[in-house]
Amino acid sequence: MGNMILLSGFMDKVREYIPLNWKWDLFWDSFPFVAKGLYITFGLTIACYVFALLFGFVWTFLRRIPNRPIAWIVTWTMEFIRSTPPLVQLYFLFYSLPLIPYIGISLSPFACAVLALGVHFSTYIGEVYRSGIESVDAGQWEASQALNLSTFQKWTKVILPQALPPTIPMLGNYLIIMFKEIPLASTIGVMGILHLANDYGAIHYRFLEPITVVALLFLALSYPSAILVRKLEEKMNRRYGEENLYLDNNE
């Protein structure tokens, strides 16, 4: 209840608002400073994404092991990674891992972020792959068996080429989601745009403009890509939804 009252009070304030404190010169001054971090943010996004894409396969194939205890362990490990906050995982890798005896290694902030966010998102991407593989028609498996293909040939020539393209829009969505999680890495000292904005705020003792710059940059980058993914999705639906049906009818 208290929240609602505060919210309505907030709306009243907004109605009579005049941006009292906005300073354009600081905005333009902080823009190049913050934008320098885009390289790192992009680099980190791509590194995490590639890692997650590759590691997703590991999860997918681990889940396919036809052994109940192993499947159980893998499922719950995935569930554990998925349902705990990536921020804590990041802290765990950065602060705790170097202290564990024997296996402890200390990683640079960048590598740490790639590992933590990459593993976190690979569990989601593994699920995407799985849904793609499961959507491949059973007849395709039987056909490849009938053609006496080896397991490797079966996967690389028959199953994966059919399973992966329909998942591309979903993977694109995860790229955008991941891009939005990347500023987490600034907490352990990766010089992304959020970190630079905080630095700028600390130097000039004004957080308003630099943080708004960060928000605008994120919006400017992720909104067009979201539209792109939506278009891609429509295209894929046309191609893989209806054409497949059509082919089936012809056969």
Binding site: V14, Y17, N21, S83, V88, F92, G201
Partner: protein
């Protein structure tokens, strides 16, 4: 683990406010009034387009400065940011599932001479709610994960005390984050089972 109270408060607060926001924004986007529709669309795109962490910082640092108002406390800023963010995501689900209820149902409602409100309340919404349930369950877990971020804006949640312990007590330094991970997992477990239950409910008795 003294921060548990704060973590759970923020979680509870943002769940309630987030669902509220989701339904309000979801219905507003379906409204016939162009202004309301465009305005909510704008809100949803802004909050979906920027990162939650940036929003949190914005709510706690930039907003009080820009409008010269205090949101009361970090607690309010945290709950507001998380619930507005996830409200925006979930409003898309509300909108999507209401739209996916077949047109024949609306027409049947008109044929039975129901008012638009009755049509929504008794015919469309119960069917749409079913489709929303599993996704809502997933977002519960997402929100739980998001609550860990509030330590970044200076709130004394579990993670904050974890950081404190780490810097004060070297002996448990390596295990403290593991404990926090397990703590979050224990909170998440009932949510995971709830999600599975919701999936079952939504599958039961409906085709497609």
């Amino acid at each position: 683990m003294r921060g548990m109270g704060i973590t759970l408060t923020v979680l509870g607060g943002s769940i309630i406010l987030g669902y509220l926001m989701a339904f309000i924004a979801g219905f507003c986007r379906l409204s016939n009034n162009t202004f309301i529709r465009k305005f909510t669309g704008f809100y949803v795109e802004i909050f979906r387009g920027t990162s939650l962490i940036v929003q949190l910082f914005w709510f706690s640092y930039a907003l009080p400065m820009l409008f010269g108002i205090e949101l009361g406390s970090d607690l309010v800023a945290g709950i507001l940011a998380i619930s507005l963010n996830y409200g925006a995501y979930m409003s898309e689900i509300v909108r999507g599932s209401i739209l996916s209820v077949s047109n024949g149902q609306t027409e049947a409602g008109i044929a039975l001479n129901l008012t638009p409100f009755q049509r929504m309340r008794y015919v469309i919404f119960p069917q749409a709610l079913r489709m929303m349930l599993p996704e809502f369950g997933n977002y519960l877990i997402q929100m739980l994960k998001a609550t860990s971020l509030i330590s970044l804006i200076g709130m004394t949640d579990v993670l904050y005390y974890g950081n404190l312990l780490r810097s004060s007590n070297l002996a448990i330094e390596s295990t403290v984050y593991l404990f926090i991970l397990i703590f979050f997992f224990i909170i998440a477990l009932p949510l995971i089972f709830l999600t599975r239950k919701l999936e079952e409910i939504s599958k039961k008795g409906v085709e497609t």
